[in-house]
């Protein structure tokens, strides 16, 4: 059985953090498992956590009247789930549902914000990690806005 400290040390998504910063996160972290179909976050709820997915998959989705559930993104091993904990109004933007069994490390948002305020160096390093995720997903979203596979868009 691994400790939460070991899990944080081994998480590829957190390798950008110095060991002492990862150690600081231990007090905010917990190990968690989600069953197939289990709701991890619900749109509109207060965002009080983010997750490092150890293994498994999570669908980010929303309900569209007349179309049902639309999955806008899926997240997989070593990816980060949730960034609304970082910016006001700290509200979840999309539903998150486990696809199969998902193991993750949960990090308490309020706890993290407190530690980042107290230690700006940690805050900066953590923001660099989350910003990378922001940029990748914004880029992907822009590409999908092009509707490359739609009619009239070429091959």
């Amino acid at each position: 059985m691994q400790t939460i400290e070991q899990l944080l040390d081994e998480a590829p998504a957190l390798q950008g953090l110095a060991p002492e910063h990862r150690a600081t996160l231990v007090g905010c972290a917990s190990n968690c498992v989600f069953a197939d179909g289990e709701r991890i976050m619900r749109e509109g709820d207060p965002s009080d956590a983010f997750y490092v997915i150890r293994d498994g998959a999570v669908a980010l989705e929303t309900e569209v009247p007349g179309r049902g559930t639309i999955v806008v993104h899926t997240l997989h091993d070593d990816e980060l789930l949730g960034w609304s904990w970082l910016v006001p109004p700290y509200r979840v933007a999309f539903d998150a549902r486990s696809l199969g069994t998902t193991h993750a490390i949960a990090l308490d948002g309020a706890c993290l914000r407190g530690k980042c305020e107290a230690d700006p160096a940690l805050g900066y390093e953590l923001l660099k990690i989350v910003s990378t995720v922001f940029v990748e997903r914004l880029h992907d979203t822009r590409v999908r806005l092009l509707d490359l596979y739609g009619k009239g868009a070429g091959a």
């Binding site: 999955v71 993104h73 590409v143 490359l148 596979y149 009619k151 009239g152 070429g154 091959a155």
Partner: protein, 272 residues
């Protein structure tokens, strides 16, 4: 002057998605076009409507020619409306081929977007038919939605093999979709290949190919081992009319399969 089309009869027709059909064509009166190679295309003629360049999507042992066609305009709508027994015209095959010789002994990464899987399907068949000649083989496929994915049963069969890695991603999923949602470039870091020696073959919308090539380069693959299949308004298919001209290249005869280092400078010129 281009050769006149040869008559082919629609022998089978299969609906792939809401607007895409696969047609198996057989010679109507004995005459046949030359044997096709993976990557090539033919000019498919709907009599009384017009002609369109369509890639070969399967190469069999007989004279049959298989095309997967998306109904996006007058000609392709007419082709897709053709019923078994009806006759279409065929010219070809035209163009360059996927680099199977260069891929010999190397890892191969096949990356398709949308209907771009159709021109790559014959090369996948070839790789799997001679599996021992190649290193790791990855097939990465991106589509608009689960309902818009081509060749689902074949994708499942390929995925069931232990000697090929198949990964599929869609732009938007629904509640029943258990696979990945996102852009096809996100599959590249997960694929197993040696970036120093592997060969990549990419087909899809031009923007998708540009982004995919960049993602491959980010993994360490050099431009001279990335091949793209371009579509630029091929009309005569013989390099005379100039409709498909891209700088010094005529895509119908110098392409459609071209190496990234050859076409990348041209693809960046907005006026071309």
């Amino acid at each position: 002057m281009p050769e006149p089309p040869i008559a082919y009869r629609v022998a089978e027709k299969r609906r792939e998605t809401g607007d895409t059909w696969t047609l198996r064509l057989v010679p109507a009166d004995g005459a046949a076009i030359a044997r096709c190679a993976p990557g090539q295309f033919a000019m498919l003629y709907a009599f009384g409507v017009g002609e369109a360049p369509i890639s070969i999507s399967r190469i069999g042992a007989d004279d049959a020619v298989v095309h997967t066609v998306r109904a996006v305009g007058a000609v392709t709508n007419a082709i897709c409306a053709a019923q078994p027994g009806e006759v279409l015209g065929l010219r070809g095959p035209f163009g360059t081929v996927w680099p199977l010789t260069e891929a010999d002994g190397r890892d191969v990464v096949i990356i398709a977007g949308g209907i771009g899987l159709a021109p790559l399907r014959p090369v996948i068949h070839e790789l799997l038919a001679h599996r021992d000649r190649y290193g790791a083989v990855s097939v990465l496929y991106g589509g608009r939605s689960p309902a818009n994915l081509l060749y689902m049963s074949e994708l499942e069969a390929w995925r069931g093999r232990f000697d090929v890695d198949v990964d599929v991603i869609v732009d938007v999923g629904d509640a029943d979709w258990r696979g990945r949602v996102g852009v096809v470039t996100r599959l590249i870091p997960r694929a197993v290949f040696d970036p120093q020696s592997a060969v990549a073959m990419v087909c899809g919308p031009e923007v998708m190919m540009r982004l995919t090539a960049l993602a491959l380069e980010d993994c360490g693959m050099s431009r001279d081992r990335i091949w793209l299949s371009l579509e630029r308004g091929m009309t005569c298919a013989t390099g005379h009319c100039g409709h498909c001209q891209l700088g010094p290249l005529f895509i119908c005869k110098d392409g459609p399969v071209l190496r990234r280092d050859v076409v990348e400078p041209l693809m960046r010129v907005a006026e071309l």
